[in-house]
């Protein structure tokens, strides 16, 4: 107990607000001992130095909306909650950039930027999601098709490393090739390399107009072709014509910003919604509707459908990536597994989120994951488990194969030799 007291004292001597953790602070079921609420990069650095001194395991947290993503940490002493890193530091409208602390939520940032007629072209996600969490999970919504993911829009970053070192890379100009791009390295790093405290993004003007064009695709029967071999003899239902529709949209001169699929039930039909943005959005929407009209009744709306930019579920979520031309094969493979899966995502980029019911069962879940990996791996498909309670994941590797894993381990060793930052949460048990 003496040691514990010393640690607590050392933490509180940093001057940062510290509280004892309560059960609600658990990270994927693992309870921390303390929660710290730093207000600046320097305070995060002070916390990290004490953590290094006392060998405390640290997990950063933003809005906590995705804290159950990734594996449970091997150990967790201190939660660094970024909620008080909540200042938008600089919005330079003329330069189309914003510099912000990372505890700022995505919707607060969106509001601030809208004041200047600009936006960060990542869709604003779940309530409370922060900039830091969005970068650390590399999450992006429908408009990834046109604008990419956080790594594509991030131009500068400040991070605090395991030993308290504060490091910056990039800057506040869009064009910059001086030194290594640590922003990219930290994108999608799940809190395992350091705490991201500040970020600078390139912005876009808010488009003058937006239109969403939706077509409902009925379920149809399918029994033919090469893909049939893979999904064996089971009777298939599958949204008809999806393949040619998506190919047509992706190549369309109307330049869609997003091409999204919503497939609430693997035995039924699906909806495809296209977003076009810009001064001429109306005219382009008509062109898209004509294209989509060949596949069903298509309608134009000036607001997104209710499911837009939201995950298809909560507790059991998978991410599937595949070369776009094979997206329909992936959907068919999901249907063939016979579980009540819900699928949503960027069909033209073929980055799809799959939700399963929480009571799917350990064995069925493991078979679903490994079966799809076997089916789709040869086509370049990757399946990762974003979120699933530990009870479901005993039998499998959440992340699946990564060819550069040995290099990734070496990166982790250099940045966090003591394995104190979110240990065990990431690919290969990093």
């Amino acid at each position: 107990m003496k040691a514990l007291r010393h640690e607590a004292e050392a933490l509180s001597k940093t001057g940062v607000t510290i509280r004892e953790a309560d059960p609600g602070d658990a990270v994927a079921g693992v309870p921390p001992r303390w929660v710290a609420l730093p207000e600046s990069t320097a305070e995060v650095a002070a916390l990290m130095r004490v953590s290094a001194e006392y060998d405390l395991a640290v997990v950063p947290v933003g809005g906590g909306t995705k804290l159950h993503w990734g594996g449970p940490p091997e150990r967790c002493d201190l939660l660094i909650d970024t909620c008080c890193l909540n200042e938008v530091l600089e919005h330079a409208t003329g330069d189309l950039i914003v510099r912000t602390q990372t505890g700022v939520t995505m919707d607060t940032l969106a509001e601030t930027l809208a004041g200047g007629g600009q936006e960060l072209s990542l869709d604003v996600p779940l309530d409370g999601a922060t900039i830091g969490g969005t970068i650390a999970t590399a999450a992006a919504g429908p408009r990834r098709f046109r604008y990419g993911t956080p790594r594509d829009l991030l131009i500068g970053i400040t991070v605090v490393l395991a030993d308290g070192t504060v490091a910056r890379s990039g800057g506040k100009v869009v064009k910059n090739v001086a030194g290594y791009d640590l922003g990219k390295l930290f994108s999608g790093s799940y809190g395992t390399l350091g705490v991201i405290t500040e970020a600078t993004f390139r912005l876009h003007p808010v488009p003058a107009d937006r239109r969403w064009i939706t077509v409902e695709l009925p379920a149809t029967e399918h029994r033919e072709d090469g893909a049939g071999e893979m999904v064996t003899s089971r009777r298939q239902s599958f949204p008809g014509g999806l393949e040619s529709l998506v190919a047509g949209l992706a190549a369309s001169q109307a330049e869609p910003s997003a091409v999204e699929l919503d497939w609430p039930d693997a035995r039924g039909g699906a909806a495809v919604t296209v977003l076009v943005e810009g001064t001429a959005a109306r005219g382009r929407a008509l062109a898209v509707r004509t294209l989509m009209g060949e596949h069903g009744t298509a309608g134009i709306a000036d607001a997104p459908p209710g499911w837009w930019a939201t995950p298809p579920g909560e507790d059991v979520l998978l991410e599937l990536r595949i070369p776009p031309a094979h997206a329909h094969v992936a959907l068919r493979a999901i249907a063939a597994r016979g579980l009540p899966a819900r699928v949503r995502g960027s069909i033209a980029s073929a980055v799809l989120t799959v939700a399963l019911p929480a009571d799917v069962g350990e064995v069925a879940f493991a078979e679903f994951v490994s079966g799809l990996r076997e089916d789709l791996g040869p086509l370049g498909g990757r399946l990762t488990v974003l979120a699933a309670p530990p009870e479901l994941t005993h039998l499998l590797d959440r992340w699946g194969p990564a060819s550069a894993l040995p290099l990734m381990r070496r990166v982790k060793e250099r940045f966090d030799p003591g394995r104190r930052l979110s240990p065990g949460r990431f690919v290969g048990g990093i």
Partner: protein, 482 residues
């Protein structure tokens, strides 16, 4: 150690025709586009496959030899400057386009393929590869990946890093590894791009192909002076328009271009602005109206418009020849490559003008106005004693200006050997130490393009300064060891 034994070994690995040791032939490779740094390489090898590169790198590890990759050698920061005690690995024999996959909008190519060759392979199908450095006819995709190259169109379309989906690399210890956008884990692909050959050698590149836009309209506006042009740029961006390209030239740059290619830009122009709009026809038509209005309101006295390829080429000719053209009006020059926030452009250009007058050195300005990337051409007469030194001083002070205004010491040409000494002006020791962590993870022995990018790389075993000595908290009595 002499290089005879390694040379013999490389001959066994690659065939003797693929190894150059003859001093005269080695001289071909003694510099890249930055010709005032020259080093004759110890050995040059010309591999044809990724496996051959891996075998060469493994052998280099055995002998402890440094190695440097080279594409077309168009780099302007001395990134491909060889080592006299090492091996230069040249990719010029690896020029195959391995596959074009339009259904997935991607192509897989070898590292020695030129940037333009990718577009040429798919243009007739209505697709192209977006990043377009001005050197695109000759520079290689491997070099583009190493430099994270961009071009006039990166304001709208981004850089190489935004268009590469996967890489096959040979790591500095000789393993063939795939870095892919789709793989789970750290974004090593993103970290590798722009690492200037210090994290390994690219052996295969998967690039994203883009649909050619429906319409392209190019506009040239002539202004009395550069302030008016700058005002127009701000108003365009402020008006919510992101042009495909927005480029500016000042009077001296125009003079040079006229002397070289007779581009017949409007007479009496103190600045010209080139704005290119692309996208859906209806969208472009609307934006064109806006840009025209803005230019006129900002004082443009002549506007020219091109909507076909020949007219467009005529407008771009002066801009694209500007670098080579200054040779017509000055015996020698330095091409600088700094970046400032766009809103700082007027102030920085005025300061450059002052520097130029104070030092008696002419500076011609050609720049990517949309993203604040300056390419001042610092002109001097190398026959005049002291002029070269003065030009160097002006060129360095321009970089200081960029840093002062929150910009960067390089927007597209890279750090290389040329600017490594400026890195500490832009980054703190901690920032640079942190970058070294990446370097050490990939290249613990420091064999891959050593001496580039970083001024004084720390040895990989060395612990960064932060953890040396007594901990500050302990020292100040705020914490204790137990």
């Amino acid at each position: 150690m002499t290089l005879q034994e390694p040379a013999r070994r490389f001959g066994e690995l690659l065939g003797h025709g693929a190894v150059i040791t003859d001093p005269v032939r080695l001289r071909t490779y003694e510099c890249d586009g930055l010709t005032h740094h020259r080093v004759t390489p110890g050995i040059v090898v010309l591999p044809e496959t990724a496996e051959q590169i891996a075998s060469v790198v493994r052998a280099c590890n055995e002998y402890g030899l440094p190695f440097v990759a080279r594409g077309a050698g168009t780099g302007l920061s001395g990134g491909a400057l060889p080592r006299s005690d090492g091996v230069l690995i040249v990719t010029s024999k690896m020029r195959r386009i391995l596959s074009v996959d339009l259904a997935n909008r991607r192509a897989v190519v070898e590292p020695g393929v030129t940037n333009l060759a990718i577009t040429e392979a798919v243009r007739h199908l209505g697709y192209y590869y977006a990043p377009d450095p001005s050197s695109q006819q000759v520079c290689t995709i491997g070099g583009n990946v190493a430099e994270n190259s961009g071009g006039a169109h990166c304001l709208k379309y981004g850089f190489t890093a935004n268009h590469v989906l996967a890489l096959e690399i040979v790591t500095p210890d000789g393993d063939l590894v795939e870095l892919s956008d789709d793989d789970p884990g750290y974004d090593l692909l993103g970290a590798f791009i722009g690492s200037e050959g210090t994290l390994g050698i690219v052996t295969k590149v998967t690039v994203r192909l883009m649909r050619a836009p429906e319409t392209v309209t190019t506009l040239l506006a002539a202004f009395k002076d550069i302030e008016q042009g700058g005002q127009a740029v701000s108003a365009v961006i402020g008006g919510g328009i992101v042009p495909a390209a927005i480029e500016m030239m000042d009077a001296l740059a125009i003079e040079a271009a006229e002397a070289a290619v007779a581009c017949a830009y409007p007479e009496g122009a103190g600045a010209v602005l080139i704005v290119e709009l692309d996208g859906p026809a209806e969208e472009v038509a609307h934006q064109f109206g806006e840009v025209t209005r803005i230019c006129e309101e900002s004082g443009a006295f002549e506007l020219r418009v091109a909507d076909d390829p020949a007219e467009r080429a005529a407008i771009w000719r002066g801009r694209k020849s500007a670098f080579a053209a200054v040779g017509r009006i000055s015996p020698a020059y330095i091409v600088q490559d700094g970046v400032v926030p766009r809103t700082a452009l007027p102030e920085v250009l005025a300061s450059i003008d002052r520097l130029s007058r104070d030092h008696g050195i002419r500076v011609a300005n050609v720049f990517h106005a949309g993203d604040g990337n300056l390419h001042p051409l610092v002109l001097f007469d190398d026959a005049e004693p002291g002029a070269g030194e003065r030009a160097e001083i002006v060129s360095g002070k321009i970089l200081d200006l960029c840093i002062e205004h929150g910009g960067s010491i390089t927007g597209e040409h890279g750090v290389g050997v040329d600017k490594s000494r400026y890195m500490p002006r832009m980054f703190s020791a901690e920032d640079l130490d942190t970058m070294q962590l990446v370097r050490c993870a990939f290249d613990p022995r420091g064999l891959s393009n050593p001496g580039k990018v970083f001024p004084t790389p720390r040895l990989c075993g060395e612990v960064p300064g932060v953890r040396k000595g007594v901990h500050p908290l302990v020292e100040s009595g705020q914490a204790e060891h137990f």
